[in-house]
Symmetry: C2
Subunit: 194 residues, 2 copies
């Protein structure tokens, strides 16, 4: 295998680790297996990531940033808060399929890992998503489009919870995907209306 530059090697190790975590679960995957699949020795892996946890943290942060950048870009030119949520809902099925392995890793680790650092970076991810959605809800409340008698975090978490459940089913039991994200968001918007 030709020698890669540090940044390329880092990216390659993250891509390989994502695949193995998605396939075997975070708990069951060892740094030895990741190094082997990447065609390097463990000491080389450790030059880039000091532990399996560090790899997980890097993968989750990259996925989180990617998601937020994508939603930011998707909603940038859209004025109304309801329309912003509709645009995100519309793109969501494709978005999770593109990041399928990263979602398996995130959800698998959330369901089963008890490592403090692993849970801390997952928490960081959801806090950012909460802020993003709460911002849209607050905009809708300030323009009078959404009703004001609610903590904006409630609908933000309604959206996050639906997103987690939807992704868990759509990615793992596609034959059960009777739920249309686009219709689902209309239902939520009905409940948000002032």
């Amino acid at each position: 295998m030709p020698r890669l530059k540090a940044a390329q090697r880092r990216d390659q190790l993250m891509a390989v680790a994502t695949k193995l975590f998605a396939k075997w679960g975070y708990n069951a995957t060892t740094t030895a297996a990741i190094a082997e699949a990447a065609g390097v020795t463990e000491p080389i892996l450790y030059r880039h990531f000091s532990s399996k946890q560090e790899l997980f943290v890097a993968i989750t942060r990259a996925m989180s940033q990617h998601t937020l950048d994508y939603w930011q870009e998707q909603t940038e030119g859209i004025h109304g808060p309801a329309e912003k949520l509709r645009a995100i809902a519309k793109g969501f099925p494709d978005h999770i399929r593109k990041l399928e392995d990263a979602y398996h890793v995130l959800h698998g680790a959330l369901a089963t890992s008890r490592e403090r650092k692993v849970l801390a970076v997952i928490r960081e991810h959801y806090v950012e998503i909460e802020k993003f959605f709460a911002g849209i809800i607050i905009q809708g409340q300030s323009t009078g489009e959404f009703h004001k008698e609610m903590d904006p975090r409630l609908p933000a978490w309604q959206l996050i919870n639906i997103g987690i459940g939807y992704a868990m089913i759509a990615l793992n039991l596609p034959s059960l995907e009777h739920f249309s994200v686009e219709e689902g968001i209309e239902h939520i918007l009905r409940g948000l209306k002032a």
Copy 2:
């Protein structure tokens, strides 16, 4: 360890396997580890369950039946569909905490297992839950309490998806639990109103 009757041994093996699957993930747990933790030999385990998959199937079916029995019982004396959903929402946080290990197992396997039988029994579980919720929605549509221009499976899946997401966060990142299931259901009911 004293000899147990067949039914007791079966229950004990299921309880031990639930703990190990919850802790290490379904993929990473071996029947050897389950037998050892239960204080029996592997051949004894195989007399009761022919494989790790069979154990998973038995655990998931028991948990599914337990959930449906509980909801049936909770809603039996309640007439209105909105009130039924409120009663389920109110009891949900305690319910998932009582079945915490079983939920870790279910969600962990859903996120990471690619075994056909494992996914099939999880699918069975959600199909039963879908039927249960759709029944309540149809009742609300027939009495005119809920609006009729929707496939009842849509709100049924809205509820399932929120339930999955809520349980994933509440059980694994309790410090993020800003979402009130009881307030969340009011929001959903607003959207369901005729």
